[in-house]
Symmetry: D3
Subunit: 162 residues, 6 copies
């Protein structure tokens, strides 16, 4: 029974992330989506609690997917959550360079294997950074996120316009 | 219980291939290494029977790994072998471009997901084509292949020297 | 008034090609889709006449788009058709390497500028080669092509099954 | 009549930028070079006024090219300047990954198409960041910039040496 | 008699760096490993003195390799150390994009040629940044560094645990 | 005293090749430009004798550069010519993937190190294949080749027009 983790900042989770989760969930006995945070840094656009809540609401239709939070490095999350496998989405040559290096480092330190899922094309361009920036400008990008995130973003847009 | 296939020409299987198999086997209930062939083309360097035998001997230590052969396209092999998942190794940006395109095409036609495993660095440079070319020149590259393949290559070297 | 050409083999034209045409057409006074052929090679999967007819039917809704055929190299087509600009779609790092080299060569010889359009994500994985291969196997990939091409492919599928 | 914008920081404009402008200008009815700035950040190496002035002087020989300034994101500049098209130069696989993602995001939000021009090889290595760093060290890189920029850089070199 | 320099931050030197040095040393009359620092920035994880000492200890078995330190840009180090050639390791497409741009810029300004050495596969994934982060977490990555560095890292681990 | 080889087909040598030779020659005691051929294949566009003659004429101004011919694989040429080092030019991510794999394979078999020289930007787009194709069409690309090659190409153009 293989246990996989999908680590990321998820600030906020978007449709590209959800694609990875929906592709990975049927392949493993369980999949834990892990909201990573750096205890030494400030809170982010959404708080860690908000981020984890939005993940939980977005994956409610997937019975073998759960959520967790973890500080620091993926190597620690993988060990602590007893993962057999780390899942990452991959869109481009730049992603491959970064993810390969991290995959080999994580394996050298913990022995945990990384598997890469090619991003679903239609949502491959979405990034959390862009969603945050557009929202700060008071515009609507709710089409790029799961429904439970859209509502929270709308409230941010309203407060940006005030 | 996830059933994965790892398709390729395997003419012959080499240490880079074996890395992928050893990394993937623990993640899935079963893994089938599939020697692909094109019925319209000639036999290759090793016959299909030789290739399948070398795979079987090279994976004998992995209880959930078996072998098969399949003609034509991976989409057909995936359907026929009732795969939940296609496994491929990935080494470089060029690999990513090719494998992403195939992954999306295979998914569009059959619904079967592809997962990419970053090649283990130490053997990432090995290719079957180079092994065949060097062997044809009468030289020894048996360090680059699993032990069961090395013996067969040695006989090819001897016959190349005759 | 800028006149652009979009050269390719189009054997057959598919949805990824049509995306490029629909994105490029509004930017130029006229756009000529050029079915390139090599007089020294055999006919291809579809004949040149079939390929040009399928292009013409697929772009019938775009008033400033026309079709042409040209033998040999793009540099000649660009000169003969008095193009101000060559349009190409681009999906990946491998595409960029090939297209940059061709763009600089074409400019060095003819002075004609190439512009690259990033492929629309949803159809970026489609290739004419895969459509031909799947069709030869007797399967249906008509969802990946414009409607006028689907009908012709269906007839090829039927004859493959006979 | 197609109206294109070419957005960037242009701190300062260099020969690689000028190549893009000279290649793009003949293809469109008008081309607006847009000096982007972030109202929340400090002024940069050159002030926004200096940057815009250097662009205007560098493109004075191109009758259909004008300049503008815009705060924030390219999506806003494209809407405000009523652009039909966004022009970007592209040099490498890393550029492609970044520009494709931005192109798809901009199109999803505003509908405006991006076209990529392969960088002219001879000047493809020049970056504004390097020009700033070398100038701060008191050295002369005026060969890498249009003549109107060279004079301003020379004055910066003198003051760096004082 | 060709004199090469190998510039970097080396904070700290790791096995991937040592691979580059051991591959490059036999090709040149002399090779100077240059610890670069930015006088305007703070000290780093190890001090410049520590970094240079660890380099010197790690290359003690290579008679034609020496060490130096240099502030600022590689172009200045190359000129000051009278280098005929700059050596860099290269692992990925992202590395190539960065290194090509720097190579052409350095050549345009100083005339000094850069040569790229493909990273030895087994250690290509190691980065100084990861070594620093893992060490800060109190874990042991001494297998990824030359022996003289391992001892110093162990002391850092102990102090992180205190 | 380091002895380098620069292997290739050189059918014909062009300005991009000459850039690599002129950059590499000052770095090594001697540099041998090796025209590789496959005894099992037909002659090519220029005969091996013509190719070697054109190389010799094009490098006549470089006292430490000589020419040779070699059948088969670079590993054999490197051993036979007692090379310390193999030199290759590199232009793109696709080149890097191919050259890295060959470099590691050559090193694993012979111990000979490969160094990669980033292509000089102005001529990086030139390929022998394109020169051959354009010449076959009866056009003039002599600006893309060294002077001694231009004369031979002109004669080919004349005969193509006859």
């Amino acid at each position: 029974m293989t246990r996989a983790i999908y680590p990321g900042s998820f600030d906020p989770i978007h449709r590209g992330h959800l694609d990875v989760i929906e592709c990975a969930a049927p392949l493993f006995a369980s999949l834990v989506v892990v909201a990573m945070y750096n205890p030494a840094k400030s809170a982010g656009f959404f708080t860690l609690e908000e981020r984890e809540a939005m993940i939980a609401e977005s994956v409610a239709h997937l019975p073998n997917v759960s959520t967790a939070r973890a500080p620091g490095l993926v190597v620690h999350a993988a060990t602590e959550l007893e993962a057999d496998c780390i899942v990452k989405g991959i869109r481009s040559a730049s992603d491959l360079d970064v993810e390969s290096q991290m995959a080999h480092t994580n394996k050298a330190v913990t022995g945990v294997q990384t598997v890469l899922l090619p991003a679903e094309p239609a949502n491959a361009f979405i990034s959390s950074r862009f969603i945050r920036e557009i929202t700060k400008q008071g515009e609507d990008v709710t089409a790029l996120v799961p429904a439970p995130v859209a509502e929270r973003l709308r409230r941010k847009v309203v407060s940006a316009h005030d």
